[in-house]
Amino acid sequence: MSFIDIHGLKKSFGPVTVVHDFHLAVERGEFVSFLGPSGCGKTTILRMIAGFETATAGSIAIDGKQVAHLPPAKRDVGMVFQAYALFPNMTVAQNIAFGLRVAKKSAAEIRTRVGEMLDLIKLPQLGDRYPYQLSGGQQQRVALARAIAVKPQVLLLDEPLSALDAKIRVSLREEIRALQKELGITTIFVTHDQEEALSMSDRIVVLNEGRAEQVGTPFEVYNFPRTRFVASFVGTLNLMTAVVVDATAGRLTLDGRDVATAKPIVGRRAGDEVTVALRPEAVNLGDGTAQSDTLPGIVEDVAFLGAVVRIRIRLDAQTITLDSFNQPSVALPKQGEAVKLSFAREDLLVLDGDA
């Protein structure tokens, strides 16, 4: 049995259902991210786990114990909010001590634990400051310390980095991940930022319109997206329409040209239209090997992005974008130039669902 077991979770607000039949099993010590656009239901699921929303249907078990009927205070779940939610009337130390005082720990124990937490978040000198005297990044670290000071079974992070500027986000996400690994605390992290999810998570749950579209490791979700939504939401992707020629052999036509995938196309027949996906970094200029697909095209646009050059090539009716490392010694193709592009067959993915 998993540490967190979510089964058939559903949430409706009046006639509108925002979470549909959601299932998830999280192992002890795992870091799982809920990734999706605004309104996809990720925060609602998190709030149901925390106890701030009541599920319309389904069950939530933590360490084998059903918690759906318990109030938030009885769930032993720590939560960090996007808006920090530090108590403005309390100092940093008092904020961290709040949960310990509620749990009626001894003064000595509270003092020791607060000191440990301040060291852990690298703010040992700021215990006497008030929240308004701290920067956003410092406030969020205090919020994190406050949540983990009481040693909860599960840590829930609701877009904790969204309100911070880009540089602090990167450093803080590394700190959060390091802390999580050090403490071994089971964590669920909500974000709409794919980079955060990819860099921090053991597994990612990609959500769309209240449904889990795909659950997998960052590697799986990025490299083998199962649906058109996952493919388009996680990373940049070329999405094209192709027609199946021979499903067993994995052969298709793309803008009238023959291409092939490395695997048979499951559940499709000859003549079916399918959506195929190809990462820009998987496409190369020039002829490929015998195991590659090669297509001719005309360069439509060349965009210089610093370390990367993004080239858009028109095939016939469809276009394909490729990313190439910027190498000053290699000349870039010019707009309107006829070129050939190639990609490995394993990189051409046929997505689930209709084209």
Partner: protein, 261 residues
């Protein structure tokens, strides 16, 4: 081109004169008790009057009781409305405004009808009961001011997130209210409290009709029978009210908030 400031200054001077001239006149008159010289004789007489001390102490005590009841009634109500029943806000706001449109005399007659010695809850049978009834009446009178102050304070903080943060740390409702919500709307509660204090200190109708020895009826009694003392009392009442307003400003500005980027 520089705009002329003559108009605004004129308006301000006229406005100030409208309020200050009667006050200066009252102050000047209150100091003329001794013939031929200005003195604080009237103030000495008033402050030395045992009935002044008794009625003022009584009203201060009643104001404190009113504030305590008002805070305990209004803060949880406004908090709950904001957190769980936001759709009820217009209804609650309407109810809290009723004391402004229903005259005090109507309210007190209603109370006398409801709580007289023949009623199911004969509060007017005893002095303590009547004092309690008077305090409840003052809570009603001060409700529009107390509710608005507290509601404004609650809107200034993220009540929902703070509540959820406290809940996730294991806190129950009493802990959340007294350790998280109350301290963070302290200045709003104090504003409401000082307004309540100012209302109670000068209130006449409730105290007179319930026959209680409050400061308002004393003011009326002295005003009807003496010459200089009523002017001195009026100035004292103004000073008390202004002190309350000043304290609202002091506590309102005391807590600077904001975040470093």
């Amino acid at each position: 081109m520089k705009k002329s400031t003559f108009g605004p200054w004129l308006a301000m001077i006229l406005g100030a004169a409208y309020f200050l001239i009667p006050l200066i006149g009252t102050l000047e008159f209150s100091m003329r008790m001794k013939r031929g010289v200005y003195s604080f004789e009237a103030y000495k007489v008033v402050l030395g009057d045992p009935r002044f001390q008794e009625s003022f102490s009584y009203s201060v005590m009643l104001a404190l009781v009113t504030i305590a009841i008002g805070v305990l009634l209004v803060v949880p109500t406004a908090y709950w409305v904001q957190l769980r029943l936001p759709k009820l806000r217009p209804v609650v706001e309407f109810v809290t405004l009723l004391p402004l449109v229903i005259p005090a005399i109507v309210i007190v007659f209603g109370y006398l009808r409801m709580y007289n010695s023949q009623s199911w809850l004969p509060l007017t049978d005893t002095r303590r009961g009547t004092d309690l009834l008077l305090a409840f009446g003052y809570v009603t009178l001060a409700l529009p001011y107390m509710y608005r102050s507290v509601d404004t304070g609650l809107r200034a903080i993220d009540v929902r997130t703070l509540t959820e943060a406290a809940e996730s740390l294991g806190a129950g409702w009493a802990t959340i209210l007294f350790r998280v919500i109350f301290p963070n709307i302290r200045s709003a509660i104090l504003s409401g409290a000082f307004l309540t204090f100012a209302i109670v200190i000068g209130e006449f109708t409730f105290a007179a009709l319930l026959d209680r020895p409050a400061f308002g009826p004393y003011l009326q009694l002295v005003g009807a029978n003496r010459a200089y003392e009523p002017a001195a009392l009026a100035i004292i009442a103004f000073v008390v009210t202004w002190a309350c307003m000043g304290l609202i400003q002091v506590f309102g500005a005391a807590r600077g908030t904001g975040s470093k980027s």
